[in-house]
């Protein structure tokens, strides 16, 4: 009984600083404040407002951006991980890439945005170089766009993929490949029937982590685009700092609740896939 009390501080802390804010969010998203009398009532106004118009576009924009960047960086990160693990004289290369991945996966947020602004922003080094030598600049490309943001997101998502997937790749035993080679299987057949199925759950899990990272990214977007690109995180910040729109605070809560619901759905999907693949592998 007394030992159980030892874990109480942890549960208390998580309850107050993690679960309580989320619960409050879930409840207060359904509250509305009357602009004249300041009376609070139950209402679905905020929640239904965030499924329409500019907020709907923001959700779709965020979903699109994070889905595309997550898939792209999953593929590129996997390719990079396979490339360095297969290297013939690759110990140095492997160390180098893994260390760099550790650093770059942590190099998100504000500094990353400024590194890209210095490179391909309007006054960036590469932009000027291209303008001076070819006279075309970046040909209409702008960092303050979906494509621009995607390009920047890959910078921390690919290293994150490498770091999460390397342990799974290392768990693929060379003997499996040798056995399938000896049985006359082609490379494709090996990946289709042995390597692929074993790697599928960790790859899906990593992709989901990338999606959640990209979906929640705020600092980079804030520094690069202000609010010209429709993204939920930017809309939430706008709603919270707005003194003009009545009930903006509640809108922010509804938007935030929507984000949690999206992530929750993705998690549920992942858990379902995980269960299916595990049954199949067993």
């Amino acid at each position: 009984m007394l030992t159980a009390l030892g874990a109480a501080p942890f549960f208390l802390y998580v309850g107050v600083f993690l679960l309580l804010p989320i619960a409050v969010l879930a409840v207060e998203a359904f509250r509305a404040t009357d602009p004249v009398t300041f009376e609070e009532t139950w209402s679905t106004a905020s929640v239904s407002a965030v499924t329409e118009g500019v907020y709907r576009r923001a959700y779709l924009g965020s979903l699109q951006l994070s889905l595309i960047t997550a898939l792209l960086s999953a593929v590129l990160g996997l390719a990079l991980a396979v490339a360095i693990l297969r290297a013939r004289r690759g110990r140095l290369l492997r160390r180098l890439v893994l260390t760099a991945s550790g650093v770059l996966a942590n190099f998100g947020g504000i500094p990353l945005a400024f590194a890209f602004l210095a490179t391909i922003g309007t006054a960036g080094v590469v932009t000027r170089l291209l303008t001076e030598t070819f006279g075309i600049g970046l040909g209409g490309f702008s960092l303050a766009s979906m494509t621009g943001l995607g390009l920047v997101y890959l910078y921390f998502l690919i290293p994150l993929m490498v770091l999460t997937i390397v342990p799974a790749l290392e768990a693929l035993r060379p003997q499996w490949r040798e056995a399938s080679d000896n049985l006359g299987a082609s490379g494709w057949q090996y990946w289709r029937h042995v390597g692929g199925p074993v790697l599928l759950p960790p790859v899906l899990g990593a992709t989901m982590l990338l999606f959640a990272s990209a979906f929640a990214a705020y600092a980079t977007a804030k520094a690069l685009v202000g609010s010209s690109v429709p993204l939920v995180t930017l809309q939430i910040a706008d709603a919270l700092s707005s003194n003009v729109v009545v009930g903006a605070e509640n809108l922010g809560k509804a938007l935030a609740l929507g984000m949690i619901v999206v992530v929750g759905l993705v998690m549920a999907f992942y858990a379902w896939i995980q269960r299916r693949t595990q049954r199949w592998l067993a």
Binding site: A7, A83, P111, F156, L163, L169, Y218, K222, I236
Partner: protein, 294 residues
């Protein structure tokens, strides 16, 4: 914050003894394409940032002026010190909270393991901006419902702009996944059960066991967790920005409008700091590795 998720895969350099598949027939062209292309993608922004900050626009020569002007620039010392203090407090609270929990869960309360694990993973998937909206709503209770009660005073006290304790409290939550994983790996790697039982049989109290047996045995894991938390807090922007406190990252954004070169110079330096922090972690890991398998 997203970035720090790397440690989920195990922080620092993961260097396997044997490649997955050594020496294989041909087919390596795509490897060089991938390495070349991604190498370029990752190196160009860093090189360009350095170039951007060392070139003197006026004379066309080189200058270190932007780097030397960082310490004296308006607001730097203040915001950087604040971020360092926040980081130190976060590390302290996270360790005090998690060390006993991890030990207990491993030795005495294995039934709670899944629950604790799930709860510590939650901050990885709950978007920080959603969490901060919730935190703001709770903080708004003070003027709305608790005015003129001691609780309201507490609420206001933790929102002091000089040292916003509320940031420390939520940063501990953000650090949970990394701290838990680092400590848990350490506890599993060491034979803590024997050691703690020996200490208990000799009459040591639980707090004494934690301080004099567990802490020294887990020192590399503890340092690992501390460095990861440090890197996380020094780079955290979302909470500070939405709650309206000035920390190091929000300061960079504020000065960027008037002094673009300075903000890029600070960014380059912060990359360097992250690199140094992680280098220390992997050095620690390697030391532990050699000790365990001589």
């Amino acid at each position: 914050m997203t970035a720090l998720a790397e440690s989920v895969a195990g922080a620092g350099g993961v260097a396997p003894e044997n490649p997955v598949r050594p020496a294989r027939r041909g087919g390596g062209a795509w490897r060089f394409a991938v390495l070349g292309l991604l190498g370029l993608y990752f190196l160009v922004p860093i090189a360009a940032s350095v170039w951007f900050t060392v070139r003197d626009r006026g004379t066309g020569g080189f200058t270190a002026e932007y780097y030397t002007s960082i310490p004296g620039s308006d607001g730097f010392a203040e915001s950087f010190t604040r971020s360092l203090v926040l980081a130190a407090l976060t590390v302290l609270i996270a360790l005090v909270l998690m060390l006993p929990t991890v030990v207990l869960v491993n030795l005495r309360l294995p039934r709670l393991r899944t629950t604790v694990e799930l709860l510590t993973l939650m901050p990885l998937v709950v978007p920080p901006i959603a969490l901060v909206v919730g935190v703001r709503s709770v903080l708004a209770w003070a003027p709305d419902y608790f005015l003129d009660t001691p609780l309201a005073d507490v609420f206001f006290a933790i929102q002091e702009p000089e040292l916003p304790w509320i940031l420390v409290f939520v940063y501990v939550v953000l650090a949970l996944p990394f701290v838990y994983r680092a400590l848990d790996a350490g506890v599993r790697g060491a034979d803590l059960r024997t050691l703690t039982e020996a200490a208990r049989n000799l009459g040591a109290s639980w707090p004494r066991v934690l301080l004099w047996v567990v802490l020294p045995v887990l020192r590399t894991s503890v340092l690992n967790a501390a460095f990861l938390t440090l890197a996380l807090v020094l780079g955290e922007f979302t909470f500070a920005n939405i709650l309206g406190f000035e920390t190091f990252p929000t300061w960079i954004l504020r000065i960027s409008g008037s002094e673009p070169q300075l903000s890029v110079a600070v960014s380059v330096l912060s990359l360097l700091v992250t690199w140094l922090l992680l280098l220390m972690i992997s050095a620690l890991d390697r030391r532990r590795g050699t000790k365990e398998n001589p």
